[in-house]
């Protein structure tokens, strides 16, 4: 365990030093969040009854989404890992007495945590200062807040496990770029990044909610805003747990298989 904590700490250290990127990301997300809220506000004012979510729940969704973008964004690939498989540096990782998949997981979790750590607080503060119903409302019961934290943790594992599955696939492909682009598109639409899932048409919405992408930001963000009713929370957490287990098992198996047939070419 200590070994993997070390990877975690290292990635965190490395991630914390990109201050300019954090600043740029933060301002982008502030502007983006504001614009999104203005956009939804226009729709909402024109016909509040046909809105599938409350405006307050939606505002909470958007502010949290922007603050913790580093947790959710499927396009935050850890290119080091993909490159390592592609150019053979993974050879060094294999000469370490560690399990490759667990090490990757520790690194991926730390990468997203370090990126979020530098960005989240200022955005949350701004969100809290914005007046209702367009701000981040903090009136939330302790039990729902705990459920939100659990859902955030599970979501982070699901996102990382999904990306690791793709990294493992790159053992079998000459170039993993195609499948990465596809994954980003699927996660943006089915995960609730483009619009929250309640806004999707019937049919597609159910499909999205059951897919692994629906077990990502969709659940914690809607729990926080109260859009997932209290009695449905256990089922939602169960779905996240299910996808976490399935994706980890698949990724670990694929990594093992990939290593068995891995050929590190050249010099």
């Amino acid at each position: 365990m200590r070994q993997y904590l070390a990877f975690f700490r290292m990635r965190l250290l490395a991630g914390l030093q990109y201050r300019a990127a954090a600043l740029a990301g933060m301002s982008t997300q502030l502007v983006w969040g504001t614009m999104e809220i203005l956009l939804y506000r226009a729709f909402w004012l024109s016909d509040p009854d046909s809105f599938p979510m409350g405006m307050e729940a939606l505002s909470a969704y958007i502010w949290l989404q922007q603050a913790f973008l580093a947790f959710f964004a499927m396009w935050y690939w850890e290119m080091d890992l993909v490159e390592a498989v592609k150019n053979g540096s993974v050879a060094y990782e294999l000469t370490r007495p560690t399990d490759l998949y667990t090490m990757w997981m520790a690194r991926s979790l730390a990468l997203r945590l370090s990126r979020a750590a530098l960005r989240a607080v200022p955005i949350l503060l701004v969100g809290i200062l914005v007046p209702a119903p367009y701000g981040l409302r903090l009136r939330i019961s302790p039990s729902v807040f705990l459920a939100f934290l659990a859902a955030m943790a599970l979501m982070l594992v699901v996102v990382c496990a999904y990306t690791l599955l793709i990294y493992a696939l790159s053992f079998f492909l000459t170039d993993a770029n195609g499948i990465m682009v596809l994954s980003v598109a699927a996660a943006e639409l089915l995960g609730g990044a483009v619009v929250p899932l309640p806004f999707l048409p019937e049919g597609l919405r159910q499909l999205a909610q059951l897919s692994p992408f629906g077990a990502m930001q969709n659940i914690p963000l809607r729990i926080f805003g109260g859009d997932i009713p209290r009695e449905s929370i256990p089922a939602a957490l169960g779905l996240q747990l299910f996808w976490a287990v399935v994706l980890i098992a698949a990724g670990a198996l694929l990594t093992r298989g990939g290593l068995r047939r891995a050929v590190i070419l050249g010099g």
């Binding site: 290292m10 490395a14 540096s89 050879a91 294999l94 370490r96 891995a262 050929v263 010099g267």
Partner: protein
Amino acid sequence: MIEMKEISKTYRVRRREAGLGSALKRMVSGGWDAVPALQCLSFTIPDGQMVGYIGPNGAGKSTTIKILSGILRPDSGSCIVDDLVPWEDRKAHVARLGVVFGQRSQLWWDVPVMDSYRLLRDIYRVPEERFRENLDRLTELLDLEDLLRTPARMLSLGQRMRCEVAAALLHSPKVLFLDEPTIGLDAVSKLKVRDFIREENRTRGTTVILTTHDMQDVEALCSRVLLIGKGQLLLDGTTEEIRAMAGENLSTEESVADLYRRFGI
């Protein structure tokens, strides 16, 4: 003790002629060629020996190192390093192993070298006291003092290689694989790295396998030379023997080139 017995490994390579026509043809047909990298390779290296492992490009040197490091599994044959089969017991095996791949880096690019070393300390579970001791010794011998606080990306090639060699030794490995460790180094750095490896072997009895194209490395360090070509062991002897086999008055470099020609590799 390293024991390789009748190890064979064949790669599959996708080959085609250049040009659009053959590219289109290969989209439908497979076109995999089998390229034998190692053919029934056997050798034994006792503890504490320094061995130069030489051969022309594509002879199978790196393949051997990868098999010995447990990264690659051979198609057939057996290999035992200190009672362990590298690719079966990878984790236990690599814990006693230090590896330097001259063409790749094990340091984290954007953080100071010392952070990478701390990570290695935790990965190999090196006790703090021994880590300090090793680090102090490495810092002094390889002249790392100012480099430790520098991010790896800001080091020159020679400085980085010294840091790489040190990184491979922080956990006092019993066996050291060096794959072209002096590639691109200036004369001073080269001598430093060589002196250091010799010292490591003398004081700690570390077994060293050195793959290189630099015959001076081999002459300076190795008591024994294994010559490999086309995946087969062609010669097992000392540098003197290699020189004796070739013509009079040739440098080691020239005698090796002469040998390559003579074996037709």
